[in-house]
């Protein structure tokens, strides 16, 4: 049997696949951030908390109302999206004409408050969530055992990412959105309700975070800090991809998942920093990010 850098190829395939699965989470979360930043110019630091909210809503739906995982996939993102809409109407709306920094401070504060409330109520140990029957078990691929729940994450996130990309880049609605990003006043003059569009866009971006939370519920520990650990990495992903670039965030999300996966094999201690090293390198060479356009 041949070996690649001292690692048997089966192990390598397995690790690449796992990297892709982690990349799915990065992609879907950074996509939400990119959509929000692209249209609202808001650096949404509550994204991690909203991801956590998605997982908690899924848990509550099952434990308080008996709603199963598949319905949660629909209900939880909508519920989290609605909290986003309320947030936008009440607070974020007032910051559009100000510097980025204010949006960042507001959303960061909101994230701390949300996480704090959940810590107070549920503690930090986390809550158990049983995967639905269809997602428990898995398949032996020869080079690794792939749990159904993980395979489902790749499929679901690839579909959602592509659909989002398609809507924004290829449809009339997407064209309005992109036009409103360029020049809101002009688009408004054509009779498009720009403020409503912005509100809904924020709601949609937040719903994406909620969706990622539902996907995470059967896999990761559901606890109030689950988003905090992830969000910093996701921000790095967005920066590497280019702030506001839809395609960029999807491609870098999956790509960095792969790179991180490989680091876990060759130098596990470095897997927590590899993404930030790449971010620093990219910023040195291409300050606007890999897919970003310089204004």
């Amino acid at each position: 049997m041949f070996e690649l850098l001292g690692i048997p190829p089966q192990a390598l395939f397995g690790q690449l696949l796992l990297g892709l699965i982690n990349g799915s989470f990065y992609a879907i979360l950074s996509l939400g951030l990119a959509v929000i930043f692209g249209l609202l110019n808001i650096i949404n630091f509550t994204h991690g908390a909203q991801y956590m909210l998605g997982a908690f809503v899924t848990w509550m739906l099952l434990n308080y109302l008996g709603v199963n995982y598949w319905w949660s996939l629909l209900i939880a993102p909508v519920a989290v999206g609605i909290t986003g809409v309320i947030l936008e109407r009440l607070f974020i709306r007032r910051l559009y004409h100000l510097d980025h920094l204010y949006g960042l401070l507001l959303t960061f504060g909101l994230a701390l408050i949300t996480t704090g409330i959940f810590k107070q109520i549920f503690g930090v140990s986390g809550l158990p969530y049983q995967a639905p029957p269809l997602l428990s078990g898995g398949h032996n691929l020869g080079f690794m055992y792939l749990p159904n729940s993980r395979a489902w994450v790749i499929i679901a996130s690839a579909v959602v990412c592509l659909a989002t990309w398609f809507v924004i880049e290829k449809t009339k609605l997407g064209a309005y959105l992109r036009a409103a990003t360029e020049n809101p006043t002009l688009v408004g003059a054509f009779g498009v309700n720009v403020p409503l569009m912005i509100t809904l866009t924020y709601g949609f971006g937040v719903a994406l975070a909620g969706f990622a939370g539902v996907l995470a519920a059967p896999i990761y520990a559901i606890n109030p800090v689950m988003g905090e650990n992830l969000i910093i990495v996701v921000f790095a992903v967005v920066v590497i991809g280019g702030m506001g670039s839809i395609l960029g965030s999807i491609v870098t999300g999956f790509g960095l998942g792969l790179i991180e996966g490989l680091t876990r094999v060759f130098y596990p201690e470095g897997s927590a920093v590899v993404i930030f090293v790449i971010m620093a390198l990219v910023l040195l060479v291409k300050p606007a990010g890999l897919f970003g356009r310089t204004a």
Partner: protein, 396 residues
Amino acid sequence: MKSRFVLAALAGVLMSGTAYATDVKIGVMNDRSGIYADIGGEGSVIAARMAVEDFDAASKDINVEIVSADHQNKPDVGSNIARQWYDTEGVDVIADVPTSSVALAINEITREKNKIFLNSGAATSDLTGAACSPNTIHWTYDTWQLAHGTGGAMVENGGKTWFFLTADYAFGHALERDTSAVVKEAGGEVVGSVKTPFPGTDFSSFLLQAQASGAQVIGLANAGGDTVNSMKQAAEFGITQAGQAIAGLLVFINDVHSLGLDVAQGLVLTESFYWDMNDGTREWSARFEEQTGNKPSMIQAGVYSAVLHYLKAVEAVGSKETEAVMAKMKEMPTDDPLFGQGVVREDGRKIHDSYLFRVKTPDKSEGEWDLYETVATIPADKAFRPLEEGGCEFVK
């Protein structure tokens, strides 16, 4: 002139009103917001208060004040708080302090300031070994105890080859080192290990490496959320079904509660305390649960026991002078409803029985917190590292 006299008289009255023979201030420092907040956190503060109440300090002419702070699992944050507490806020004792890296820092500062450190939360056995201090008592558990409890039991049951998933900081390294020693001593072999960034979320990649190693036992040298995530994912990837055993080397009752019995059932683990052992533990735990909503972890129980013993020593000595109180704590046997009778050894190691538990199957559990059955009791004299093997420099 007259007003000055009134003021002086008033001050005199005030002072006599609050004057106690001894004033002690205990600082409970731990993780109040991160992944170790449930095993210590506010629960440890409540446990310390319960000790003060049960001791009935006020009637013994001792005034106890309890303060608390969040070290965020960061040694620099913890060190700053400790210096501020000792230097400007008159704190005499720091209690709890989980997260070994922070505990080692507080251990040094406490020695330098000649105060007292009652550690319940941290695991590293270095606190009574290479880094031992005459000012520190390591109360509840340590990595040597865990390694010999869980590790020893696994090797005895035929788990000869091991692969470690190790949290990449002082605690994980110490736990891996101590468990490896047990495995090798029993004729087993360590085939590999991987250092995982702390805290982590996704352990699947590391679990796959452990699987590929073909080891009979995968040792989890991590804690809290890391353990919960790695066990949840081990179940997901069918690792135990494929024949490898998981050894949770440091598992707290809160982790098992969080995992749920479906995932955690059958897991063998070592703890120094479980709420459902006898009437004393049940009664105390019920009072604790009333205030916190949870059953106590062994760390929280340890904070209670340590603070209680400290107050008894202060009463016996009649002052809070460090050397005298430390000497008294080591001379006097310990006795409380949670850990029973025990002693504090010369090197600062508190000695009591240790227990090997197995997590119940869902059909055997009769309640939310009915989680463990006792497999074996490891007697106090076998539970902890022998004094002469620790290498503590001031023990002759």
